[in-house]
Structure formats: structure tokens, C-alpha cells
């Protein structure tokens, strides 16, 4: 069980307005259709206009869920161009959950955040060097190549 874990609850409480939708209810049909929902677990991060900024499917155990949620919230802040907030969330994800499945993605976009924030290519290259060094076999290390 993921949600009973205190550290998961704390992340949700600190950073989120949580809403659950039972996809079997008739009253949920507009939401199911509107979000093109097809499979649970189905998690979305939305901005204050209801615009979807990140999504993932599938069960994750508590520590993996927490890392994925922090990376998702960071990505949402990045897309909103709230670079300081994104930076803090990515750093938290990487510090607390460095071996999580979401960690390489967090490292990848941590570099992107630094670049978007400063315009300095070194911020991107430093972040991506860390990615290549720490997570050499990850999908995100493949994606950081631009040869």
C-alpha cells in the first residue's frame, strides 16, 4: 500500500490538492472521457486551470511513488517556467531517492531546469554529465545524446 505511508502523505499534503475519481461510477463518466482515461492506476498533475502537465500509469511501491511524484511535480513547475520551484523538487527527489526509477529522469530535467533558468549551457552539460556518470544505462542517458 502506497498512500498509508507517512512520507507519501507528507509530499501530497505539502505540494498537492489531491482528488480521486472512481472510474466505475456513472458520475465519473465526464471526467473519464474528458481526460481520455483508460487504465488504472492513472495519476495526473494539473495546473490551477486544470491543464495536464504530467501523467503516469501503473502501480509503484511507496518509495518509487514518492520519487515519481516529486519528479512529476518538478516537471510541472518546469513547464510552468517556475524554475526555482522545479530545481528544489528535482534536488529533493534526487537526494532522497537516488536509486528510484524516476531518478534518471529527474537528473535529466534538473539539467534542463538549470539551463532554462540561467541560459548557461554549462548548467545543462553539468546536469547531463552527472546523468551519464550516475545512471549510465538509463533511457534518459540515451536521450541526452545529441550526436
Amino acid at each position: 500500500m502506497t498512500y498509508p505511508q507517512t512520507f507519501v502523505q507528507t509530499i501530497i499534503s505539502d505540494y498537492c490538492i489531491p482528488i480521486q475519481v472512481n472510474n466505475t461510477l456513472d458520475e465519473s463518466k465526464p471526467m473519464v472521457a474528458g481526460f481520455r482515461h483508460v487504465w488504472t492506476p492513472d495519476l495526473r498533475v494539473l495546473d490551477a486551470d486544470g491543464y495536464e502537465l504530467y501523467r503516469w500509469n501503473g502501480y509503484l511501491p511507496p518509495a518509487e511513488f514518492a520519487a515519481q511524484l516529486l519528479a512529476a511535480l518538478a516537471h510541472a513547475r518546469l513547464r510552468l517556467r517556475q524554475f526555482d520551484a522545479a530545481e528544489v523538487l528535482y534536488a529533493d527527489a534526487l537526494k532522497r531517492f537516488p536509486t528510484a526509477l524516476a531518478a534518471p529522469e529527474a537528473q535529466y530535467f534538473s539539467g534542463v531546469t538549470g539551463y532554462r533558468k540561467t541560459g548557461e549551457s554549462n548548467a545543462l552539460l553539468h546536469g547531463w554529465h552527472e546523468l551519464e556518470k550516475t545512471y549510465p544505462g538509463s533511457e534518459w542517458t540515451v536521450k541526452q545524446n545529441f550526436d
Partner: protein
């Protein structure tokens, strides 16, 4: 420390609270087992 997650069931309410608090909305579609 939170005792439990205070899930909402209305998207309109979640968005209203998001606008007020600055927090992002976490939407969880689930199917009861």
C-alpha cells in the same frame, strides 16, 4: 504530519483550492477492488 490524505472528489473544488493555495492538483483515477 498528516493523518491521512484528504482526497477531494470534485475537480472544480480541486481547481478552486489550487488557485487559492498555489499547489498543483494531483488527480488519481482509481477502480475499487
Amino acid at each position: 504530519m498528516p493523518d491521512e490524505i484528504r482526497w477531494l472528489s470534485s475537480l472544480d473544488e480541486a481547481i478552486a483550492q489550487s488557485k487559492k493555495s498555489g499547489k498543483l492538483v494531483l488527480l488519481d483515477f482509481f477502480s475499487p477492488t
